[in-house]
């Protein structure tokens, strides 16, 4: 071996001499002798995967991904392309953050534990609830975990979980999978004008309901105005009121704790992650009384042997590696590094920056809606509500035709009905919005 690693793993550092010495110490002639695999199941074939240099591999990935079209994305619906400051990339990519494992040895993990503690603190401040874990996979899986929590804390009666009929398919389907092993059944309740139809919901709520789920803002970008009423309906039958939201919206919207929410779930990756093909960061905050039933990892404060403040994973007796089949969740690897990025992004914005970002989502969405409402062939917004970041517009053209025409001109939009498109301003510059409005005018009529 000449050190160039033309063959073999480029990340295995053994020289020929070292390898020989090690084989001798073990008492075998070759590595192959160490594999205790019966001949009948031994693999003697090839994967037929070529080995490449680092340079060739980079070229392969770059040229493959270069086939993606470069579009301006006016896309949202739970996943937002906010600009992430360079600070976040550079600090989060420090290899101590990137290459460490779960903090099972807290004495050499204080930095990460503190960062996660700060993340939990961020969510506690945003939600007004007493506790938050240090991440789930995404909003959909966090919703599933909320339902299984509801089953545990309301295990004596009931099996119905109520969700809005406009719930994203990915969230609803993930929830269905999470409750498949329980007695819970998921039912939709009606929405009207983009928000909860509280009257219709009231009809459906009875003693059999263990969880009522609502979102603020809704998936259509509207702000839910009757959260207290929804919370009361849930509270009257002792069902958990679970609210879906995100850190940017929560910077200005009413605190979930103040409208009776028992649990807040959502995707926290709106801060810290660019558009990354749907990769997420599940946020999970809840009331303190569910502490021993909470899923996921928790970082707490303790003291070390010299009485100094120190951080550690805590209440691990809820977790799968200790409690096994009686654990509150099967989650193990979570999204810790993404939580770090989110905390960094939030810290870089500060409270003023967070509030500004949210408020701009309100004013810019309103501005865009007003502007394109002037365009013949488009009515916007269709919901007579307050909006944040995004809204739905009605189009004279079939929406899918319009979307395809817009894509040819460099813009991606959601199709949410036969004659409905949804537009989002998060992460889109004013110049891009100007260009978009011009393009829409060309194709909308």
């Amino acid at each position: 071996m000449d050190g160039s690693h033309a063959t073999g793993s480029p990340y295995a550092p053994h020289t020929d001499a070292e390898q020989s010495a090690m084989l001798e110490a073990v008492g075998v002639d070759s590595e192959a002798e160490l594999f205790d695999i019966p001949e009948t199941v031994r693999f003697d074939g090839e994967f037929d995967i070529a080995s490449r240099s680092e340079q060739e591999t980079r070229r392969l990935v770059r040229s493959t991904l270069a086939q993606n079209d470069d579009l301006t994305e006016l896309l949202g619906r739970g996943h937002y392309g906010y600009y992430v400051p360079s600070l976040v990339d550079h600090l989060a990519d420090r290899s101590e953050f990137l290459t460490s494992y779960t903090q099972y040895q807290p004495e050499v993990s204080q930095g990460f534990l503190q960062a996660l503690f700060e993340f939990q603190s961020l969510l506690v401040e945003l939600t007004g609830l007493e506790i938050a874990n240090c991440s789930m996979y995404d909003a959909a899986t966090a919703l599933g975990e909320a339902a299984t929590l509801a089953e545990r804390v309301r295990s004596t009666s009931g099996h119905r979980v109520l969700v809005p009929d406009q719930l994203l398919e990915g969230r609803r389907s993930t929830l269905e999978n999470y409750v498949a092993g329980t007695d819970l059944a998921v039912e939709a309740y009606a929405t009207a004008d983009g928000t909860v139809d509280v009257g219709a919901l009231e009809e459906q709520v009875d003693d059999e309901v263990v969880m009522v789920y609502a979102e603020n803002p809704t998936i259509r970008g509207t702000i839910e105005e009757r959260l207290e009423s929804i919370g009361s309906l849930a509270g009257e039958v002792d069902a958990l009121f679970v609210l879906g939201s995100d850190p940017v919206a929560l910077s200005v919207l009413k605190r979930p704790a103040d409208v009776g929410a028992d649990v807040v779930i959502g995707d926290a990756s709106v801060l810290g992650l660019p558009t990354s093909y749907g990769m997420g960061l599940g946020l999970f905050a809840c009331r303190e009384e569910y502490l021993r039933q909470v899923p996921g990892r928790l970082v707490g404060v303790s003291e070390d042997a010299t009485d100094r403040r120190a951080f550690t994973l805590t209440l691990q007796t809820r977790e799968q590696h200790i409690r096994r089949e009686r654990a509150t969740s099967n989650i193990c690897t979570n999204q810790a590094w993404v939580a770090l990025r989110t905390a960094m992004h939030a810290a870089s914005l500060g409270p003023n920056g967070m509030v500004d970002l949210a408020n701009r989502g309100v004013t810019r969405a309103t501005d865009l809606a007003n502007r394109i409402d002037e365009i013949p062939g488009v009515d916007a917004p269709i919901h007579d509500r307050h909006h944040i970041r995004e809204f739905v517009a009605r189009t004279d053209q079939p929406a899918n035709v319009l979307a395809a025409d817009l894509e040819d001109r460099g813009f991606a939009v959601h199709v949410v009905g036969d004659h409905e498109i949804q537009l989002c301003v998060a992460g889109v510059s004013d110049d891009q919005l100007d260009s978009f409005a011009a393009a829409l005018e060309e194709v909308a009529r």
């Binding site: 073990v26 007493e130 498949a180 009413k254 042997a305 100094r308 307050h386």
Partner: protein
Amino acid sequence: MSDRAEESLEGAEQVRYDQARYVEDGQYEPLLSEKDLTRVDIGDTGSDADGSDDGASADSPLPDDLTRDSLELPELSEPELARHYTRLSQMIYGIDSGPYPLGSCTMKYNPKFTEDVAALPSGAVHPDRSERSIQGTLEVLYRLQDYLGRIGGMDAVTLQPPAGAAGEFVGIRVAAAYHEHNGEGHRDEVIVPESAHGTNFATAALGGYDVVSLPSDDDGRVDLDALEAALSENTAALMLTNPNTLGLFERDIEEIAEMVHDVGGLLYYDGANLNALLGRARPGDMGFDVMHYNVHKTFATPHGGGGPGAGPVGVVDELAPFLPAPRVREADEDGEGDESTYELFDPEQTIGHVHGYQGNWLVLVKAFAYIARLGDEGLTDASAKAVLNANYLASQIEYDVPYEPFHHEFVASAGDQDAADVAKRMLDYGVHPPTTKWPEIVPEALMTEPTEIESKDTLDRLAAAFNAVVDEDDATLEAAPDRTTARRIDQTAAARSPRLSWHALDDADER
């Protein structure tokens, strides 16, 4: 103590931690603390009437009854934040800091170029983009599905599960859907060996199954008689990892597969230990019907302090119709041109989604790049060196290793010592310790997995750390560590009075 261990004690790690240590009046550099918190009042008319300290006011375009009153978060400049997070990073031990032989976790070096590859702007797309506009993304996913299928000997692969345990959950849900489809919905038991990863038990329970625990035989492998007794017409699946958590290859795997299949059950492969087998054996060839891959272990994508990972699932043809939606395939073309196009599709009997979108893309693209870099020769050699390293390290340590022949990991016993204390003491010697007290088959277990990335020199240093602790007394062990950022941390106190945010600290600490 050996010279080598003395050297370790006086080595570079001590310096590193001391540099990171910022002590003032007996405190570490604190949290983003109350001095940094700024309160913004929201939605009032801009009058800062209550006179709150540092209060700022943000006019909201929304009516008061829809907005919160205030938001209180740290307000720091960019340079302050850069220092804050740099200091935090200096108080973390990662695989780039030193050896990390955490059994079953496969802490491998993560090549740096994959970070650049994952950061390519063209890789950053919204998940609702049209298929025609993200052909590059779909091609990477398609090729990764294909690579993983070949490596595992599986017919079809989904990339959606965002972690290994999520992959297990897909496996269990797919098994349930398959049995249901065949009119076998009565099967309500999943068999899990006692030594299995805790996730296996939790996943089976989450799937609604009764968990049947399977004891090991005297050799540390599946006890075939116990398996025979556990199997029945109610068996939905057996979850197994091979080699198992003792690093031992289940030599009877073909017989095990036959026994499970004979009663109509499915055989599930936990991919946590796949790093031991690359190019030597494939789960599909051993009779496994469904498996998950821990790409953040086997394929060297960073663990990120606890995620994100990714847990793709491979299945045999019979189970492919039940996989999560959507998957990626080559589109039917009329033979025009030689470039393939790719599309998403929903498998016929799909269980639906297990993630809001398509899982952890950034992790997947790193895994793709890693596999493409290593290829056949690199992957096969990685396993060979991983197994050589484990065997060499075991031959150099004085602790007893009761079960063999093992592959990529071994479980030593700390004997009369407390394994958790041994681990704390090893921190003082500048290395990360093994996984402790698990699996329970071995008393005071030290479960050790050096992986292929460590050199003989590093393994010798690791062995020196093990051997330095062997003869140390309980008092020394219990006092450890004393050369780390924090000394021994009281985990009982943390659990007894949980303080989980800076809000909780305000009350308890009167900072």
